[in-house]
Symmetry: C2
Subunit: 400 residues, 2 copies
Amino acid sequence: MTRMTARPENVHQAQLLRLLRDDGPRSRAELGDVVRLSRSKLAVETDRLVELGLIEPAGLAASRGGRRSSIVRLSRHLRVVGIDVGATSIDVAVMNGELEILGHLAMPCNVRDGPDIVLDRALDLLGKLRGQGLVDEIHGAGIGVPGPVSFREGVPVVPPIMPGWDRFPVREVISQRLGCPVLVDNDVNIMALGELHAGLARSVEDFLLLKIGTGVGCGIVVDGKVYRGMTGSAGDIGHIQVDDEGPTCVCGNVGCLEATFSGAALARDATAVARSGRSPFLAERLEQTGEVTARDVAAAVAAGDPEALRMVREGGRRVGHVLAGLISFFNPGLVVIAGGVAGLGHILLAEIRSVVYRRSPPLATGNLPIVLSELNDTAGVIGATRLISDHIFAATQDIP
Amino acid sequence: MTRMTARPENVHQAQLLRLLRDDGPRSRAELGDVVRLSRSKLAVETDRLVELGLIEPAGLAASRGGRRSSIVRLSRHLRVVGIDVGATSIDVAVMNGELEILGHLAMPCNVRDGPDIVLDRALDLLGKLRGQGLVDEIHGAGIGVPGPVSFREGVPVVPPIMPGWDRFPVREVISQRLGCPVLVDNDVNIMALGELHAGLARSVEDFLLLKIGTGVGCGIVVDGKVYRGMTGSAGDIGHIQVDDEGPTCVCGNVGCLEATFSGAALARDATAVARSGRSPFLAERLEQTGEVTARDVAAAVAAGDPEALRMVREGGRRVGHVLAGLISFFNPGLVVIAGGVAGLGHILLAEIRSVVYRRSPPLATGNLPIVLSELNDTAGVIGATRLISDHIFAATQDIP
């Protein structure tokens, strides 16, 4: 077997690899229709990619009138790894070159245990996938973490819920352990990439991924690429003020979106409601388990509990107000809503939509879909592999 | 003289033209340091640009040790035109290839008079500049209008303050009249391009231009290019809600930013204050002229009138709240504040800054300058010529 640490040598090779990744096996004739290369130049580049071990022949295409064109596909040996570190869980998946999931394992894990423990567990999960014979050589790995990241340096930067991770060299450590290129980004950005690659945003150039989980964040995709902003904090919308007199936030300000509606805020409010006796359903949960979670609120909503419905509606209205402003500003082609609290489903969605369609300019909302993610737990790992795949399948030099 | 309807034939020529435009005359050796071309290929491309009449020799450079390298510059015959149609004025300017202003004329003109009258006046002003011998052939023109524009089609789309302009073929009409390529965009986007080309944003890739004039709008620059959004309405922030119980807006909603603070809102509030007798200064203006404008409020602020100060402070707080949210979301490298109301100057700026630095995440505001534009009335015409120059100086085919 050819060792496949190879990378594309020019923009044409990079384009061919991305085409084969996103659209699957193609005949040389079909590739020639898409890339702007002469027949002979195309042959040179595809032959070179075969030589590099990045693509391989896959039979002959049906005739288009003349000689049958040969089909090529990404090498069957290509493997990329996605690691999605959440606040309370880790997901690890192995993909082929087309970023199809070959294996996916998850386990509970508290990010507060620090980088040594958490990253070791991630590598243990990867070891199990290796044990299943899914992976030989790894060509790259993408990692998402639940906090701000300096993308250039591959380190978390003052992440509020990740004690011990500040400036920990995640990229360097994992790159050395796996012996392959690694990129690190925050969890919301990689979820957005997941939606771009395999979700409802597949054909959308400019969209927003609104994640409502324990916290609230937004992934921004411009022109098919994650927009990170000047210092990497773009999309950090959890602390936009939605209420002059709202609850005090962990950040020290008053009435932040995240302090008013998020998984954590919902659990807090639902606990208060349970204690007050206003919701027999939630009171029972509190008595049974000693706590009330956002998941319990979802169950209460499903059971038709009026207080739970009121909380979700009010929260949806808050989120809707912030989102309406972002849509006025950004005029996206799509908004995808994801994260644990998105599990509240269509009642939450209806409230968000209602505010947005009333408050954003008609020119911006005319054809704007606002939808719930359909990828669930796989958005993060898919996005993480897309991140590293875009990096591997890029020419080292953009102008040849 | 060579006729200069020529355009660059490939990405290298396009890059060379933009370098010479933005940095001025350069020796071939210096150009070779910047573009990634072999010495012989660079010579081929620059020779071809001379042949096309797009650049011309400009003497010899000082020796760098060997043979003296010859200097080239953009052709002295290149002329681009910028037309900035405002709500109540037109500005027309003629620039050389480097987008330096050779001549600039302005006149009052109500955009509500409709496209036939307004565009005729713009061409009259251009005729006067031609009469001064500043222009022979025009190589391109950029036009800004005070309303939403379909950039692709070059037509205004349901512009609220431009009756008669809806879907009027501005680009086509002017392109036929001038016999050159024309692009049309909204006024805030071209102001942002003006700041990018010649203002405080010159070296900033990602920034916001907040215009507070009769209305309120925002220009968004991502990666050195205007971001227009899915339907061209990106930056339309005037109708973000800032007050649940604020004044009713022309859009039919309640408490929009623009209805709460803008040139128009300030004039309305100042008139009310003048009538109530709470400000002797504004009452006197009202008596003298029969109306009170935002300009009068600025004069009252300068004279230390407490009611005027209160209005400006309150307005700054509203703008600051919206801007804080946009900064959390977009994490720009710079915010430039422009437009008539920005003439209120540092009192307004101080209030905006105070809210932003309190309400946006420290990671986003740490090194974020928020400044007043220094370009004044020239931002629009400079930006309009930058728009068309970027178009002319782009290769028709991006991958050669």
